[in-house]
């Protein structure tokens, strides 16, 4: 097996591991990794427009829509019109969102599989 093939297989295994981790989190916390990542960013970006949040997370704004709707249904975030530009929406984390984030922070670190941990914290 070439080095490249070996690297691709490793990446695939990590991808599967992340998917499994994500499922476990959703089951136990009701919060996926993507949702956790958004909340984590949002806490330092109060009243932020969607495009700024997408830029901070590193995804296209359209891919955020569904995740934001789910978070809003769970009352973890609040979405309102921008009074200065009604084409825009402002997003903010709610107190319930802050609480679940505090709870999730510990849980995520404890539940993280070892192969992901070795990539996330190589030292």
């Amino acid at each position: 097996m070439s080095d490249l093939e070996h690297s691709l297989l490793t990446l695939f295994q990590i991808g599967v591991s992340i998917q499994n981790f994500n499922k476990r989190l959703e089951k136990s916390l009701g919060l996926s990794l993507v949702q956790w990542c958004l909340l984590k960013r949002l806490i330092d970006m109060p009243a932020t427009p969607a495009h700024a949040l997408a830029k901070a997370v590193g995804v296209h704004p359209s891919t955020l829509t569904q995740t934001l709707k789910r978070l809003e249904r769970k009352n973890y975030i609040f979405i309102t019109d921008d009074s200065k530009d009604y084409r825009k929406k402002l997003i903010a984390i709610t107190r319930s969102g802050k609480k679940i984030l505090e709870f999730a922070n510990d849980k995520i670190i404890n539940c993280m599989p070892k192969d992901i941990q070795s990539i996330a914290c190589p030292r």
Partner: protein, 255 residues
């Protein structure tokens, strides 16, 4: 503009309490009522008590057009930052630029016609800037015209910031409140600014580019062409705002 006490605005305001936010307030017309004689301005005891409580919970800055010395006499609580002369005093202003500002103001003061005083106009020397008040003038339009004519003859041409019955003359190149606040955010290692002001001098803060929503601005009194995003109906609402901020911060803890 949106009322700050609307439900949606309050939810956004609450989210500021979850991150590192500095709370900045103008002095005249915001923490204190506008009075006929600027020297009589003071913070009401209840406001003073509330802002003292807030100072214990979060970083608070008072940023005013008054000189720092004057501001210190009127502020009987302990804000983390006191900034005077529209941002010239209180931060890391270098002594050379302060000396230049002082020299420029001295030249201006000598050139401003003494006749202005007769029209109910008072010239306030704030060392690094000058304020020309005409609140006590009975003929305000005439006073405005006379002051504007006098200002037009000054060299170097000052940066003029209008206000409530006042013209503020700042030396060219002097910072404004907006720039001072941006410096303050870096100095205090904060991520966001919450700012309340009431006057044209505060438009420098209200009009700052806010694409990354680093700043939440509130004006005392609704004004159609103001750049502030939110407003409070009147100055006395500041107490309700301070109570709200205290409540949010007593409930919250950093994540």
């Amino acid at each position: 503009m949106t009322p700050l006490f609307a439900k949606n605005s309050l939810t956004l305001l609450e989210s500021l309490s979850f991150t590192k936010t500095i709370y900045a307030f103008d002095f005249d017309g915001t923490l204190s009522k506008i009075v006929r004689v600027p020297d009589e301005a003071k913070v009401a005891p209840i406001t003073e008590s509330l802002i003292s409580q807030l100072c214990k919970l979060v970083p608070v800055a008072i940023i005013s057009g008054r000189s720092l010395e004057d501001l210190k006499k009127r502020v009987h609580f302990n804000p983390q930052f006191l900034i005077g002369n529209h941002g010239l005093e209180g931060l890391n202003a270098n002594s050379v630029s302060l000396q230049q500002a002082e020299h420029t103001c001295r030249v201006w003061k000598s050139k401003l016609p003494k006749g202005l005083a007769l029209a109910g106009v008072t010239i306030e020397d704030k060392i690094y800037s000058i304020a020309v008040h005409y609140r006590l003038s009975r003929k305000k339009q005439l006073a405005r015209k006379k002051i504007q004519a006098a200002i037009a003859n000054l060299t170097p041409a000052p940066r003029v910031i209008g206000g409530k019955s006042v013209f503020n003359l700042l030396p060219p190149g002097a910072p404004h409140k907006g720039l001072a606040l941006l410096d303050l955010v870096q100095l205090a290692d904060m991520k966001h600014i919450f700012y309340v002001g009431d006057d044209d001098t505060d438009e420098d803060v209200f009009g700052m580019p806010s694409d990354d929503r680093q700043i939440m601005t509130v004006r005392i009194g609704e004004k159609r062409n103001s750049h502030a995003r939110y407003y409070l109906d009147r100055q006395s609402d500041i107490n309700k705002l301070l109570r709200t901020l205290i409540r949010y911060h007593k409930h919250g803890a950093a994540v």
